[in-house]
């Protein structure tokens, strides 16, 4: 038979708690305890508040550009909930809920967007890389992190997050291809929120699903409702188990929606229909989760009120912490550049100038030796978060 089929395959879509609050009891069985659902709902609510305040900080000039995570809380949170505490997280910038759940203090994210590198100085033991600004580049780091753990015989895996737009970058392909062909334990979570700034997802991928990107690599791949935290937990848990068991990666497309603007620098009304936004507001992950809890008598208006008050307080405290940190000093930009600062940089650091008098190689009384000593002394106490 000259024409023969050499591959047949398909893509599945998984939803457990749908937008109407319908819960698939079979698939959802024992997935998340009711206590934990409460915690997750509370956490999502705090994150929602965080976005609101971050937005206001930007508008009032107390912070730079900020990308709201609003509407996408379930995706990263469900994923991180499903992972082990020591699995690597390699995020983009719409995973605050997952990062906060892992334990990142909220002020770190604020500091980052306040233009302060100390927001990236992730505390030890959190196993995460900082937010990635260049789109699509961070997935390769997840590949390397997972590779190192496989090399060491550890069963720690890596989970990386990225948007629909990011799947167009060459680095995304290289990351998926490395993971698939070198058998690396990586979980790839694409948050398809419908848009890459003003560009609709179909320009990034005109195929029926983004999930099928994974077919190219013979990789496990699945599409799920990204606003359904149960579905997220299920697919990521399965993917993590596969990765831990047999070092195989999985590609997950979490279908979600960016309810806010791309960032505070954007005005989404320029390019998208309010009808679309309205439709997605009904699919808000918080609404359905609250309904789920109310239906099970785990939640009521009183609890909601106290949660809202608590969220307000938590976020306000984080803002206070972020704003109280002393401004960085000019020399900070030198101090973390290399493990040991090269001579010329010691001089630049000590003099804070690049122009050169042209008279002495050191520009300093005492010559290079003096500046070197001074440099060494001044770099000893490296500034960081308290």
């Amino acid at each position: 038979m000259p024409v023969r089929t050499v591959l047949s395959t398909n893509i599945e879509y998984i939803s457990i708690l749908d937008e109407h609050g319908e819960f698939d009891a079979k698939l959802g069985k024992d997935l998340i305890s009711d206590e934990d659902v409460v915690k997750l709902y509370e956490h999502m609510t705090v994150c929602r508040r965080f976005d609101e305040i971050a937005f206001k900080l930007q508008r009032s000039g107390r912070m730079g550009t900020y990308p709201e995570n609003r509407g996408q809380e379930a995706a990263s949170l469900g994923a991180v909930y499903a992972l082990r505490k020591d699995d690597w997280l390699v995020p983009c910038y719409r995973e605050n809920p997952g990062l906060f759940w892992r334990g990142l203090p909220m002020e770190y994210i604020l500091l980052h967007w306040m233009g302060d590198e100390r927001g990236n100085q992730i505390p030890d033991g959190l196993y995460m890389t900082p937010q990635a600004i260049p789109i699509g580049t961070q997935m390769l780091h997840a590949v390397g992190l997972a590779w190192a753990s496989k090399y060491r015989g550890e069963d720690r895996i890596a989970c990386t997050f990225f948007g629909d737009g990011a799947t167009s970058e060459g680095d995304c392909h290289e990351a998926l291809n490395f993971a698939a062909n070198l058998d690396l334990p990586v979980v790839f979570v694409c948050q398809n929120n419908g848009w890459a700034i003003s560009v609709p997802a179909k320009i990034q991928c005109s195929a029926p699903t983004i999930a099928q990107r994974g077919l190219a690599y013979g990789m496990e791949c699945v599409q799920c409702d990204g606003n359904d935290i149960f579905a997220m937990v299920k697919v990521v848990r399965d993917a993590a188990a596969l990765a831990r068991r047999s070092h195989r990666p999985t590609f997950i497309e979490a279908v979600t929606y960016r309810l806010g603007d791309h960032t505070t620098a954007d005005d989404a009304r320029r390019y998208r229909d309010s009808a679309e936004v309205e439709m997605w507001k009904k699919r808000d992950p918080l609404i359905r989760l609250r309904k789920y809890l109310v239906d099970r008598n785990r939640w009521d208006d009183e609890k909601e009120r106290s949660l809202q008050a608590d969220a307000k307080e938590q976020v306000a405290a984080a803002v206070k912490r972020a704003e109280e940190i002393a401004a960085p000093s000019t020399t900070d930009m030198f101090d973390s550049l290399y493990a040991q600062l090269p001579d010329q940089l010691r001089i630049q650091r000590a003099t804070l100038r690049t122009a050169c008098l042209g008279q002495d190689p050191s520009q300093l009384e005492g010559g290079i030796e003096a500046s070197r000593q001074q440099g060494i002394e001044e770099t000893v106490s490296e500034p960081g978060l308290p």
């Binding site: 550009t65 260049p134 690049t354």
Partner: protein
């Protein structure tokens, strides 16, 4: 004449070249209905439609690689890279192909494209949105690199660039996008690529800069007592050595100002050329007032990093006193 910002001047140049020549097409991320994140392509999509103003997938190597193909086929693509930090993924297509196509085919295939890229710091932007990578592309033969500092020059240089038969990187200092307005002729006109502009005449010291720091230089010069000649290079490859050399032969002293890190920055090339051509005229070492040799810091420290007027003024005083 209209009183335009840099953004408006560039927008006008794009519209006029597109009106005039249907080989000109604009492509990139968010250049369509959104008009670009800086609104430089505002109104183009509506005016010229989706076949001439194209939102591409989010992939810079793809944008430049495809533009090379478009250009080889005889079109005049004007791709936009959203921020200078995201030009890096296209570095390979730019340096390996765009820059070399004419040379390696001995002229059989050419790449008349103009890559527009916002550049530089000073607007409190996030990481990788404030860098100054232009010198990288100056070191790659086969490219031309243009950095306008005024609305007038921006319009005239962009028109020249689009009509130029070779690949051009057109860096737009984003700090100046809306910093001031200037009278800009409504009609099309060109400013020649490769020619510097003497902004202020003087005969005691030469200050050389390009892009956003030109404005800082003017401030610094206003605060100085010497007679200072300010040169805005406008094009950084090819360099207008003649204008530089003529000035320094007159003044004997020079200060070079740029945002990029000092080491192996373009200031080194300019200083070396001055030294080579004006050796016997030089009365003081040439000063380079630049970004530090550090990663461009996040915005809380950006003004400490950038060559602001005060640092320039200091260098001028020292060169004068030498």
């Amino acid at each position: 004449m209209a009183n335009l910002t840099l953004v408006q001047a560039i927008n006008l140049a794009l519209i006029q070249e597109m009106e005039k020549d249907d080989r000109v097409i604009v492509l990139g991320e968010d250049v369509g209905i959104n008009g670009g994140v800086f609104r430089v392509t505002e109104g183009l999509f509506k005016r010229f439609g989706p076949s001439r103003v194209v939102d591409t997938p989010l992939a810079e190597s793809g944008i430049i690689g495809a533009s090379i193909g478009l250009a080889m086929a005889g079109l005049r693509p004007v791709p936009e890279i959203q921020f200078e930090g995201f030009l890096a993924p296209a570095y390979d297509q730019l340096c390996t192909h765009a820059a070399r196509m004419r040379a390696r085919t001995r002229g059989a295939l050419t790449v008349p494209m103009t890559v527009r890229v916002p550049v530089g710091g000073g607007i409190h932007a996030p990481e990788l949105h404030s860098d100054s990578p232009a010198a990288f592309y100056v070191h790659q033969p086969g490219l031309k690199v243009v950095v306008p500092a005024t609305p007038y020059d921006a319009k005239g240089l962009l028109i020249s660039a689009i009509r130029d038969p070779d690949p051009i990187l057109f860096f737009e200092p984003k700090r100046l996008y809306r910093a001031f307005r200037e009278e800009v002729p409504e009609d099309e006109y060109t400013v020649p690529i490769g020619k510097a502009r003497v902004v202020l005449p003087g005969d005691e010291i030469t200050v050389i800069s390009w892009g956003a720091p030109v404005v800082q230089c003017v401030t610094a010069i206003e605060q100085s007592d010497q007679s200072i000649e300010l040169i805005d290079l406008r094009t950084i490859y090819p360099l207008d050595t003649e204008t530089i050399v003529n000035s320094v032969r007159k003044t004997g002293r020079a200060v070079i100002v740029h945002e990029a890190p000092k080491t192996a920055g373009l200031g080194a090339e300019v200083a070396s050329r001055i030294m080579e051509h004006c050796f016997l005229y030089l009365e003081a070492p040439i000063q380079r007032v630049t970004g530090f040799d550090t990663v461009m810091p996040y915005y809380k420290l950006e003004l400490e990093y950038l060559p602001e007027a005060e640092r320039i003024r200091k260098a001028i005083q020292e060169v004068a006193a030498y």
